[in-house]
């Protein structure tokens, strides 16, 4: 038996060898993830195509640079604002990009994706989101989802077709609701202790503020005006939060509209006996229409956003409005049927 005479590699040499192998291993794995991600990624933009958060990401089907205003937030944004109502009133194009119960880090991801294809002149953030609990785990989860399409859409292995291997992504299913989620039921809210004046100040959590500043910076980089908006709700909104948001808006040099305090509240004119969906948490479509009407005039008259009605490039919006009105008639006729989770139309 002969012993090997080859000299043993030095410690640094071994270190760099293993480091190189580790990098190579990860690079190959990354390549596999990217390749599989392309196969698994839904090839359309509807829920039926398998797109996650399809309501919020419905803007992918809109022509590039065609949306002038975007509303970020949680369920209060999607139940409180109707872009089609705003279009019908003023011809201003807008979109609601919101996901129920989400934290403000999600709004940041959403807006970053929105800016990839759109150039809105104004970005609104519904303030309820600033007071939602913040979880670092959720940020991490969002990061993983963003980076690994293969993990986000892994469940699609069960429904893969030949088109998934050969076809291109086509975002062509235009939503008639534009991210809005109208609710039809009515449960009056007790507004007896709603918005009692107070000097207290309730600031959002520190991590929420980190992402709020990031949102403000993102808007500035993209030349969009950033405005905080508190839609009417009695359960979680109060003067302390109003004061907190006013202070933050002043610090950041951004706008703040509170529809729960005068003069805006009077102008909107919410009737808590008929406009509340679930005792003051969300608005139903009556309340949503009032908020949208006020917002339409704000966008058109105060901000001077253009009226696109009559512009051939926006002809699809006119058709959408007809279908939207048909849908809202159905909602009004059969509230129970159209007021359930996960139901929205395209």
């Amino acid at each position: 038996m002969t012993e090997s005479t080859a000299p043993k590699p030095s410690k640094p040499a071994r270190f760099f060898k293993y480091l190189g192998l580790s990098i190579l291993f990860c690079a190959i794995l990354w390549g596999m993830f990217v390749g599989l991600g392309h196969i698994l990624q839904p090839k359309g933009n509807s829920k039926d195509d398998g797109l996650i958060e399809s309501r919020a990401y419905g803007f992918l089907a809109e022509p590039d640079n065609s949306i002038d205003a975007v509303f970020l937030g949680d369920s209060l944004a999607s139940t409180g604002i109707s872009p089609m109502r705003i279009w019908g009133d003023t011809g201003v194009t807008s979109y609601v990009c919101s996901v129920n119960g989400e934290q403000v880090s999600f709004a940041y991801t959403m807006l970053r994706d929105f800016f990839k294809t759109q150039k809105p002149r104004v970005v609104f953030l519904e303030t309820e989101m600033l007071y939602n609990p913040f979880s670092v785990g959720k940020v991490f989860k969002q990061f993983v989802k963003d980076q690994f399409t293969v993990a986000k859409y892994h469940h699609r292995w069960k429904e893969l077709t030949l088109e998934d291997f050969t076809g291109q992504v086509r975002y062509d299913k235009v939503s008639n609701l534009k991210g809005c989620n109208p609710k039809a039921l009515c449960e009056p809210a007790d507004a007896s202790s709603y918005m009692l004046p107070s000097d207290e100040v309730e600031l959002p959590g520190k991590l929420n503020l980190v992402f709020l500043r990031a949102l403000a910076d993102l808007c500035e980089e993209n030349g969009a005006q950033f405005v905080l908006v508190a839609t009417p709700h009695t359960r979680d909104w109060n003067y302390a939060r109003h004061n907190g948001c006013a202070q933050i808006a002043q610090d950041l040099g951004i706008g703040f509209i509170d529809m729960n305090t005068d003069p805006v509240a009077s102008e909107v004119g919410i009737d808590w006996t008929s406009d509340a969906r679930d005792a003051g948490i969300h608005l139903n479509y009556h309340g949503m229409n009032k908020v949208s009407d006020w917002m339409a005039s704000y966008l058109s008259e105060t901000l001077g956003l253009p009226d696109h009605r009559g512009d051939q490039a926006y002809a699809r919006w006119g058709k959408c409005l007809e279908e939207y009105e048909e849908y809202m008639a159905k909602v009004a006729k059969d509230p129970e049927k159209y007021d359930i989770p996960g139901v929205h139309m395209y």
């Binding site: 293993y18 192998l21 291993f25 190959i28 794995l29 596999m32 993830f33 599989l36 698994l40 996650i52 129920n100 119960g101 785990g137 959720k138 991490f140 989860k141 993983v144 690994f148 293969v150 993990a151 986000k152 892994h154 469940h155 292995w157 069960k158 359930i340 989770p341 996960g342 139901v343």
Partner: protein
């Protein structure tokens, strides 16, 4: 996908906690590596049980002190014997008695802690029910403090440490840090294996550097555990959970399927967790004892328990079965039974008393619930009957010329054992004793394949109101994924039963083959794993015991 640090299957554990510990372990000096493991173990414990960490600290100090006291007694005894060898027998007896008292106090104290934290509420309920039987409707209010993670596991390890010192198998440790690490080592704290001090304490202390072989073998083992858990156990939860939750709605056929699927789920969950535990320890150069050895190849219930949760079985054997069997009262009982009912059944009857204690302890260890005690006693009856019937079975087989080593008989034994296991797990998983009996009644008295032919079985699932109004269950592709994993697990088991260790074989293959295996496992977990919206990943089952 789980993003909090409360199990080995959380993404935070695998991409943040474990890599940080590995790097910290490797960069510090070898003599300090035990400290890295101890800090990591207590951090992991804190992340799951927060303030309840105080109880593992109390257990650690108590066994340390009891061990030191026994050590001092034995030293004193040896010194006296050296002075006066004529009194050796007398001194040994005297000091053994003193040591027994210390050992008993140490073990008793730890068992008392376990009882207070885990069983007090159950005992309170039982006491209340007993009082009600006598017409005394006195509410028995028992405060609930919480159950620290892994208390059932580390308490048995603490007890074995003291028993082993008492028996002279090991010397008492003078280092509190080593005992603390032995009891709390993070890969084993949640679901075991239940290690002996002699098996792991020195390895944990050694601070063996991480090397590429251990890293590869450990990683493959961890990924294999993830595959079992995420592809099979988590996926099956979508059908197992609703059946057991709404057991009155299903016929015997569905109940039978639930028993089989739950057994598979439990195996993939528990053995998957063991793969992660053993794989993680392996990376640190620590060989933890195996807890499973392909239990579904067993031909008898006794053999099943030699292959399933091996470290619990061996603990019960070494610290309950043998000491009880060899105790003076049991010897007297055996002698009396031989005298009264003969040599064949006498020892069996006496042995059944010991066997009862073992299986009662087994059931009670699993949890404070009547179904767990029933589960233990179920195996007591099955194994006792097996012993009683065996002579008759031998005689019948001989008369009918049945070859007891032939394939047909072995297959019969295998199928019979599977049925015994499935029924046992049905009671084990049922939501209480009444539910278990009802489901067993359905299985026996209302067995039909109707639910499989009319589509009712495929419609079983869970609801996720915030996502959809539809019931989410398993489709044919899901069952195909489970079946594929079962086939792969069976092939691996057959190969390992023949004495080949697959991870060892793989470790000697060239780089390309080794990487392909790693990639295949990672991709299989990422794509076929059950996680995300519309799934119901399972909390590690044995972590609750």
């Amino acid at each position: 996908m789980d993003f909090s640090l409360h199990s080995y299957f959380s993404i935070l554990y695998i991409v943040a906690f474990l890599p940080i510990v590995l790097v910290a372990y490797q960069v510090v000096a070898q003599r300090l590596r035990w400290a890295v493991l101890l800090v990591a173990s207590y951090a992991f414990f804190w992340a799951i049980s927060s303030k309840l960490i105080v109880f593992i600290l109390i257990s650690t100090v108590s066994v340390y002190l009891a061990g030191r006291k026994m050590g001092a007694l034995f030293s004193e005894r040896d010194a006296f014997i050296a002075q006066d060898k004529t009194r050796k027998k007398e001194l040994k007896k005297l000091y053994q008695k003193k040591a027994r008292l210390v050992c008993g106090l140490g073990v008793g104290f730890n068992l008392l802690l376990l009882a207070c934290l885990k069983y007090l509420v159950f005992f309170g309920e039982v006491t209340g029910s007993l009082l009600a039987l006598f017409g005394l409707n006195v509410p028995v209010a028992v405060p609930y403090i919480g159950v620290p993670i892994g208390i059932s596991f580390y308490t048995l390890m603490a007890a074995s440490y003291l028993f082993d010192i008492y028996r002279g198998t090991i010397a008492p440790d003078t280092n509190l840090g080593r005992i603390a690490l032995f009891l709390s080592f993070f890969p084993q704290i949640m679901e075991g294996p239940i290690c002996r001090y002699g098996q792991t304490a020195e390895q944990l202390w050694a601070g063996t550097p991480i090397n590429k072989d251990n890293l590869y073998r450990g990683s493959v083992r961890i990924l294999w555990g993830f595959a079992k858990k995420m592809i099979v156990a988590d996926r099956l939860n979508l059908v197992v959970k609703p059946i057991f939750a709404d057991y009155t709605s299903y016929d015997g056929g569905v109940v039978a399927a639930a028993a089989v699927l739950y057994t598979l789920q439990l195996y993939c969950d528990f053995s998957g967790c063991m793969d992660v535990a053993l794989g993680t320890a392996r990376i640190f150069g620590i060989a933890l004892p195996e807890n499973f050895r392909h239990p579904f190849f067993s031909r008898t219930a006794s053999e099943f328990w030699l292959r399933w949760h091996i470290t619990l079985g061996s603990w019960l054997r070494d610290y309950i079965f043998y000491p009880l069997s060899l105790s003076a009262p049991m010897k007297s009982l055996t002698k009396a039974a031989r005298h009264r009912i003969g040599n064949r059944y006498g020892p069996l009857l006496a042995g059944s008393v010991t066997l009862f204690c073992v299986w009662f302890a087994n059931g009670l260890w699993h949890g404070a619930g009547s179904q767990y005690i029933f589960f233990g006693l179920y195996y007591f009856v099955i194994i006792l009957l097996g012993g009683l019937v065996e002579p008759l079975a031998q005689s019948v087989c001989a008369k009918l010329h049945i070859n007891r080593e032939g394939t047909a008989w072995r297959t019969f034994q295998w199928l019979r054992t599977l049925v015994v296991v499935f029924v046992g797990e049905l009671f084990f998983r049922a939501e209480g004793m009444d539910a278990g009996l009802y489901m067993f009644g359905q299985l026996v008295g209302n067995f039909t394949f109707e639910s499989f032919t009319n589509g009712a079985f495929m419609a079983i699932g869970l609801t996720f109101p915030s996502v959809t109004t539809e019931v989410v269950g398993l489709c044919l592709q899901d069952y195909a994924a489970v079946a594929a994993m079962v086939v792969i697990m069976t092939i691996v088991a057959v190969v390992e039963e023949r004495g080949c260790c697959i991870t060892e074989r793989l470790a000697h293959k060239n780089l390309a083959v080794r990487w392909v295996v790693l990639y295949a496992l990672i991709i299989a977990i990422v794509i076929f794993g059950s996680y995300g919206v519309g799934t119901a990943p399972l909390d590690p089952i044995y972590a609750q015991f």
